[in-house]
């Protein structure tokens, strides 16, 4: 991981903006996907999560007002993993996914993000950057709680949901 991120506030902000925007984009995309695959509850859930992410993104953007963020190519970001921590990995999605499974992944994602912000806050030597990162981390901790709350609120016991329908061959 590129350590410049720990010292450069603008670079950090660029990361934060992208992280939240990509999260929103990905969640919208998943919502679309599940809509195409007729998983209506999950379509709705992902839409909701996407809207939430979009709000986070505009919150972060608010911090950048008037500042010229560096323009980075997709691969110039320094994420701890291959993708930004807010990104749902495609391979974690299934067409018969339950709300519980989706929220579990969402939780993991929020926790990763929290980890990302906390890590920057811990490592930076710049006080203003630390303050910023700690602020983001606090907000993120709220998200984590929110997702946890939603998970708990899920009343439904896990149902046996074997996939009975065979895949089909369109071409």
């Amino acid at each position: 991981m590129n350590t410049a991120l720990y010292e450069d506030e603008l670079l950090f902000l660029a990361h934060s903006v992208t992280l939240e925007q990509e999260a929103a984009e990905r969640l919208y995309e998943l919502a679309d996907t599940l809509e195409v695959h007729n998983n209506r509850p999950l379509h709705a859930l992902f839409l909701e999560l996407a809207q939430l992410s979009e709000r986070h993104a505009s919150d972060v953007l608010a911090h950048c007002q008037g500042r010229q963020l560096p323009a980075l190519q997709a691969w110039e970001y320094s994420w701890p993993d291959a993708e930004s921590p807010e990104s749902f990995q495609y391979s974690q999605v299934h067409y018969l996914m339950s709300a519980e499974q989706a929220l579990q992944v969402a939780l993991e994602v929020e926790q990763n993000t929290l980890g990302f912000y906390s890590d920057v806050a811990r490592r930076t030597t710049q006080p203003s950057l630390r303050q910023l990162a700690e602020g983001f981390a606090r907000e993120e901790a709220e998200h984590v709680k929110a997702v946890q709350a939603r998970l708990q609120a899920l009343q439904c016991p896990a149902l046996n949901n074997l996939d009975l329908d065979p895949p089909h061959s369109p071409e």
Binding site: Y95, N160, D163, D165, S169
Partner: protein
């Protein structure tokens, strides 16, 4: 004799396809005959899907336009099936509470109907038992109404779920039971179809499987495969069985390889085939010509789908006729056979297997997505007298004597030596050749071989297998069709008779060489001939015209052609409408 058609819709994942299959199996267990058709959206999984099951006391080989009962697990994108599940004012609709919003356009129509929509809580029933499978609850409910919710239903569930373990099966049984019990509180306001006395252990099979059975039983011992919808499952069915017969299936790198592999095996004396659909058949054209010129037995099964090009891969159409009959370069006579029903996939393919070996040439069998992928309950099929074994007559003389691989015999069939036979050595060739298999560009050799290759097929036109005739004595109207439209036409015939219009139906099995005399005989005393087929250009109709002399044609009754493309299923109703629209003679 009451038949009934039940449609089920939902999205993939709601198990509507599984529902259809289990329902058909359970019904079969209780003495029903029936047929099942599945339909999907473009997604590989989880797309909107539908199953249509038709049940009745006699074997059913076709569908009809009327839906009697519609079971809805999920309304999403129901509109996409509008063509395939046409609702009428009398369609009874039962929906699950969780089925979601009714399609806007439909909603108002539904409310205005005489029959309302019955909403029941199948998902609740399932959930109460810890299961997400509202389809199983629904299955129990409908099975109870059909009277097959006892052992037949249980074994249908077992058959489908036994690989998932005892717990899953037990849960399903109990959800189904809950569904069945619901019938008492919420009876279905429709009389169930009549059940018959189904045959001793009836069969459940798709046309593709039966094609595979016909091939293996008639002696196919080599299959070259390249997957393509809707032919793959015929290949897959054989893949699991051919080795136990001492044969082999090779998955080829493409269709060019597949067809050439089959030719190689055929040259070696091992009855061989490949199966494909339109795009693959097009790729095989060049090598099919090689089979013709080199006189190598070759069986190709074409399970037709919507064309042209990639077209509509999952829907049925009869539009590869032209390619199958005419699609080789040069003068390349060969045999084309069309399967006339699901059961006839067995018969046609078995016959074709024998023909390929017997006539040492390319035999193409046309099936289609409807035949190939629909599933039918049918009486056990008889064993057939067809076998690919080369007759002794076609062996070469003993070593030493002169052997002419391409000898110009009266029958047109020449003795075919097989590698390993001493004295029979020759080089098979796609170049024009003399009788002794040496390449030749001479007019005399060319004309001799062209004529020989045509002659050896001509006698086929008189074979009793040329087609099926369902004649009614007073009929003055003939419905002429080929392939999968035959059962549809038969049903139209029956209904027309009920309305007082007797018609005769002819289904042509042998498309090339065309059994012209038989056809002329069947048209002879008719006032009208209606030709039906499922493609845009009326391909068979034009072919038929092309084969008639001016005099023959002049002697014929008026020939009307009703031809339209897929993907809409052909129904008896539309044929009846055509018959009723014919100018009175």
């Amino acid at each position: 004799m009451r038949n009934l058609t039940i449609a089920m819709t939902g999205s993939g994942g709601t198990g509507v396809v599984a529902l259809g299959e289990m329902l058909l199996r359970a019904a079969a267990g209780a003495g029903y005959y029936g047929i099942l058709r599945k339909t999907f959206g473009p997604q590989i999984r989880g797309g909107e899907s539908a199953a249509v099951v038709r049940l009745g006391p006699r074997p059913l080989a076709s569908f009809c336009g009327e839906i009697d009962l519609l079971l809805v697990l999920d309304w999403s994108h129901f509109q996409r099936f509008a063509d395939e599940i046409p609702l009428s004012a009398s369609t009874l609709i039962i929906e699950d509470v969780a089925a979601g919003a009714r399609p806007q356009q439909l909603a108002s129509e539904l409310l205005a109907r005489e029959q309302g929509v019955q909403v029941l809580d199948f998902s609740g029933l399932a959930q109460a038992q810890g299961s997400a499978h509202s389809n199983i609850a629904l299955l129990g409910y409908v099975a109870a109404w059909l009277g097959c919710d006892g052992e037949p239903l249980q074994s249908a569930i077992d058959h489908r779920l036994h690989k998932q373990g005892a717990e899953v099966v037990a849960l399903a049984h109990s959800v189904a039971r809950a569904g069945a019990e619901l019938l008492q509180q919420a009876p279905i306001n429709l009389q169930p179809p009549d059940a018959g006395a189904a045959a001793e252990s009836p069969w459940l099979a798709t046309g593709n499987q039966l094609a595979g059975l016909g091939a293996l039983e008639a002696g196919i011992r080599f299959v070259a495969a390249y997957p393509i919808t809707p032919a793959s499952d015929a290949l897959e069915w054989m893949a699991g069985r051919i080795e136990s017969l001492g044969g082999r299936l090779v998955q080829a790198e493409d269709e060019l390889a597949a067809v050439n592999m089959a030719i190689g095996a055929g040259f070696g004396g091992v009855p061989a085939m490949t199966a494909t659909s339109g795009p693959g058949l097009a790729l095989m054209s060049e090598a099919m010509g090689l089979a013709v010129a080199s006189e190598t037995p070759l069986l190709v099964l074409d399970v037709m789908r919507g064309g042209p090009s990639t077209g509509i891969p999952t829907k049925s159409e009869q539009s590869d006729f032209n390619l199958a009959v005419y699609g080789l370069h040069g003068d390349a006579p060969h045999v084309v056979v069309a399967a006339l029903s699901l059961a006839d996939c067995h018969y046609s393919v078995a016959w074709a297997t024998q023909l390929a070996s017997e006539r040492q040439t390319l035999v193409l069998v046309l099936s289609d997505q409807f035949l190939g992928q629909s599933m039918q309950v049918l009486p056990p099929l008889p064993s057939l007298p067809f076998h690919a074994e080369l007759s002794r007559a076609s062996l070469p003389p003993p070593a030493g004597a002169d052997y002419f691989r391409y000898l110009d015999t009266d029958s047109g069939i020449s003795p075919m030596a097989l590698p390993g036979q001493p004295g029979g050595e020759y080089t098979a060739d796609g170049l024009e050749h003399s009788q002794s298999a040496v390449p030749s560009a001479r007019a005399q050799d060319h004309e001799q071989q062209l004529a020989k290759r045509q002659r050896k097929l001509q006698s086929l036109a008189a074979s009793t297998q040329w087609g099926e005739v369902s004649a009614l004595p007073q009929a003055r109207i003939l419905i002429l069709c080929w392939g999968s439209l035959f059962p549809v036409a038969l049903e139209a015939q029956q209904r027309l008779q009920e309305r007082g219009t007797p018609v005769t139906v002819v289904g042509v099995r042998l498309l090339a060489p065309l059994p012209l005399e038989s056809l002329l005989r069947s048209m002879q005393d008719m006032a009208q001939v209606l030709l039906v087929e499922q493609n845009h250009q009326a391909q068979f109709a034009h072919y038929l015209q092309s084969q008639l002399t001016q005099a023959q044609r002049a002697g014929l009754p008026e020939l009307t052609c009703y031809s339209r493309p897929g993907p809409r299923l052909f129904t008896p109703q539309e044929i009846m409408q055509q018959v009723e629209g014919l100018p009175r003679a």
